[in-house]
C-alpha cells in the first residue's frame, strides 16, 4: 500500500540512484520464503477446491445468507466507525484535551487486544446482565447479544481503531494553516472542518474505511463471543467457514473461496487509488 505517483508539482522528489546491483542473498532468500509463505496457503485453497461440486456447494441459500449478512454487517460497522471515528480522530489530532495521550492509547487498545477478549468485554457491558445492557433491557427492552446489531457492534469495536489511526495520521499530515485561514475569513470551527478539513483528509478517511471494512469482514472472535452464532442473524462468513470445517471441509473450502474472491475484488477495485506501485 503505497501512495500513487506524485501528480502535482509539489516538493521535488529526491533523485534516486539506480545502480544495477545484484540483490544480496541474505535479503533475497528470506524475501522469497516470505512470499511463498504468504501465497502458498492461498494456492492450496485453490488446488484443494472442489471445483466439480462447487456450483452445488455455492447454490445453497446458507452461503448467500452468510455472505449477505457479512457484507451488510461489515458495511454498517464501517459506517458506524466513520460517523464516530472521524470526529474522534479530529479530537485527538486538533485539540488539546486533557489526557490526550491516554485517550489515544485507549482508542488503539482494541487494535492489539485479542478480538475474543473484546467479545467478552462487550458481553459484560452490553449483555443482558451487563453494566449498560441491564439498563438497556429494563428501560427499552433492548438486548444486543445474539442480534445482527450485536454483530455490527462487535465488528465496529475491533474495526474503528483502524479508521481512527488512519484518519488521525491524515489530519496530522494535513496543514492546519488551511483551517486557520478559513477561521480568519470568518468560518466557524465546524464549518472549517466540514468545508476545509474533510476534503483535505478524504483520502485518509477512504483508506481508513477500507481497512476498517476489511477488518470487520474478517472478524470472528468478538462476533462469536458477543453475538453468538445463528444462520441468517449472526452467522457471518468467517463463522460459517469455521463451523463448516467441522462438518464438511469441502463446504468450508467453497465458502473460503467466496471470501477470497470478495477480498480480491476489493483489492482490485482499490488498486487505482491506494495500491498502485510507485
Amino acid at each position: 500500500m503505497t501512495a500513487p505517483a506524485p501528480r502535482t508539482t509539489g516538493a521535488p522528489a529526491a533523485p534516486r540512484r539506480r545502480r544495477a546491483r545484484r540483490i544480496p542473498y541474505p535479503l533475497l532468500v528470506p524475501a522469497l520464503i516470505g512470499l511463498a509463505f504468504l501465497v502458498l496457503p492461498l494456492v492450496g485453497l485453490l488446488v484443494r477446491a472442489p471445483w466439480s461440486s462447487l456450483p452445488e456447494q455455492l447454490s445453497s441459500p446458507e452461503v448467500w445468507q452468510a455472505l449477505r449478512l457479512s457484507l451488510i454487517c461489515a458495511t454498517s460497522a464501517t459506517a458506524v466507525s466513520m460517523v464516530l471515528g472521524v470526529p474522534l480522530a479530529w479530537l485527538l489530532a486538533r485539540t488539546e484535551i486533557p489526557g490526550r495521550r491516554v485517550v489515544r492509547a485507549l482508542v488503539t487498545l482494541p487494535l492489539v487486544l485479542p478480538p475474543v477478549v473484546g467479545g467478552v468485554a462487550l458481553l459484560l457491558v452490553l449483555g443482558r446482565n451487563g453494566i449498560v445492557g441491564r439498563w438497556l433491557d429494563s428501560a427499552f427492552g433492548l438486548t444486543l447479544p445474539f442480534t445482527t446489531t450485536g454483530v455490527v457492534i462487535a465488528e465496529a469495536f475491533v474495526a474503528m481503531p483502524f479508521l481512527v489511526i488512519s484518519v488521525e495520521g491524515a489530519l496530522r499530515a494535513a496543514d492546519p494553516r488551511y483551517e486557520e485561514a478559513a477561521a480568519t475569513l470568518g468560518a466557524s470551527r465546524l464549518t472549517a472542518f466540514r468545508r476545509v478539513t474533510l476534503p483535505l483528509i478524504a483520502p485518509g478517511i477512504g483508506a481508513g474505511a477500507v481497512l476498517a471494512w476489511a477488518r470487520a469482514l474478517g472478524e470472528f472472535g468478538a462476533t462469536i463471543t458477543f453475538a453468538g452464532n445463528f444462520p441468517g442473524r449472526t452467522q457471518t462468513m468467517p463463522l460459517a467457514v469455521y463451523l463448516a470445517m467441522e462438518r464438511d471441509p469441502e463446504a468450508a473450502i467453497a465458502l473460503s473461496l467466496v471470501l477470497l474472491a470478495v477480498s480480491v475484488a476489493v483489492l482490485a477495485g482499490l488498486r487505482e487509488r491506494w495500491l498502485s506501485t510507485t
Binding site: A3, P4, N129, P145, F146, A173, L211, G228, M245
Partner: protein, 271 residues
C-alpha cells in the same frame, strides 16, 4: 498534497501490517502445541506402565471428570503426563483428521468417532459411558421452566447440530414435537452452558453431567424426551499416536472400575 497522501497511505499500510498479524492469531483456538513425548525408549516391552506425554482429545462434556481422572492416572503412572484438549467433538475429530498430534480421542457420539475411524485415524473404539440431556436454567429457574414445551417462548442456546449435543438436542426436540428458534448455536456444550451462567439466555439444552458439574451456578430441569436422545461416548487409541503405550494405558484406565465409579458419580450412565 502528494506528500500528505503518501504519509496517509504509509500509516494505513503499517496499520494493515499490524492487522494482518492480529487476525492471523485471532481464530485458531483449537490445536495446542502438544509437547511431543520423550518416548520411553525400548522399555515399553518390559513395563506396561505409561510414561511420557499422553495427549487426550476429549469432548467438552468430559472436562471435569477427565481432568480428575487424568490426575489419578498420572499418580498411578509416575512419569506420565496427561495433556487434555477439550472441545466440541466434531472440531476435535476434524483436527485429528488434519494431523493433530493426539494419542487418545474420546467423543460424545459414535457418529463423530466414525469420522476418525473412517479416515483410518483409529482402528476401533469402545463405548465407555452414555449421557443424556437436561435443561440448564439460571439459579432459581426465574422463567419457571418445567419441560421442553416451555422453551419455545424464551431465549435458548443450543449446541450447533454439527456437535453431538446439538444433534441430540434436535432429536429430543423432535421427540417432544417442540419447535423453537434458539438465539445462538454454540460450538460445544460448555459454550451453551456459560450463556446460561452469564444470564444471557434463559435456558439451554446441555448434558445432565454438565448441570451436575456446574450445580453451584445453574439449576437443571430433567425432561422425559431426553430418553429418546441418549448419546454414547466412544473412546479410542489413535493409530498415529505419538505415544502408543500411553494411549493404550489411558484407554484401559478409563474403562477401569475406579474410572467407572468416578464417571457414574458425575452423572454418566454405564453403557
Amino acid at each position: 498534497m502528494s506528500s500528505i497522501r503518501r504519509r496517509t497511505a504509509l500509516a494505513a499500510a503499517s496499520v494493515l501490517a499490524l492487522a494482518a498479524g492480529l487476525t492471523a492469531c485471532g481464530s485458531d483456538a483449537a490445536t495446542p502445541a502438544a509437547s511431543s513425548a520423550p518416548s520411553a525408549a525400548g522399555s515399553s516391552a518390559a513395563a506396561p506402565k505409561a510414561t511420557g506425554a499422553v495427549t487426550v482429545f476429549a469432548a467438552a462434556s468430559l472436562k471435569e471428570t477427565f481432568t480428575e481422572l487424568g490426575k489419578k492416572f498420572e499418580a498411578a503412572n509416575p512419569g506420565a503426563k496427561v495433556t487434555f484438549n477439550f472441545g466440541g467433538s466434531s472440531a476435535l475429530a476434524q483436527s485429528i483428521n488434519s494431523g493433530a498430534p493426539a494419542d487418545v480421542f474420546a467423543a460424545a457420539s459414535p457418529a463423530t468417532m466414525k469420522t476418525v475411524t473412517d479416515a483410518k485415524g483409529a482402528d476401533s473404539s469402545k463405548v465407555f459411558v452414555r449421557n443424556t440431556l437436561a435443561i440448564a436454567v439460571p439459579k432459581g429457574n426465574p422463567k419457571h421452566i418445567t419441560g421442553l414445551k416451555d422453551l419455545s417462548g424464551v431465549k435458548v442456546a443450543l449446541c450447533a447440530k454439527e456437535v453431538p449435543c446439538g444433534s441430540a438436542a434436535v432429536t429430543a426436540l423432535a421427540a417432544g414435537a417442540v419447535a423453537l428458534t434458539p438465539v445462538t448455536l454454540e460450538q460445544d456444550v460448555k459454550g451453551a452452558l456459560t450463556k446460561v451462567e452469564l444470564g444471557e439466555v434463559d435456558a439451554s439444552l446441555v448434558y445432565k453431567t454438565d448441570v451436575k458439574a456446574d450445580a453451584a451456578k445453574i439449576d437443571g430441569v430433567d425432561f422425559p424426551e431426553a430418553d429418546k436422545a441418549v448419546n454414547d461416548y466412544p473412546i479410542a487409541a489413535l493409530t498415529k499416536a505419538p505415544n502408543a503405550t500411553g494411549a493404550a494405558a489411558f484407554v484401559a484406565y478409563i474403562q477401569s472400575d475406579e474410572a467407572k465409579q468416578l464417571l457414574t458419580a458425575a452423572g454418566f450412565q454405564a453403557p
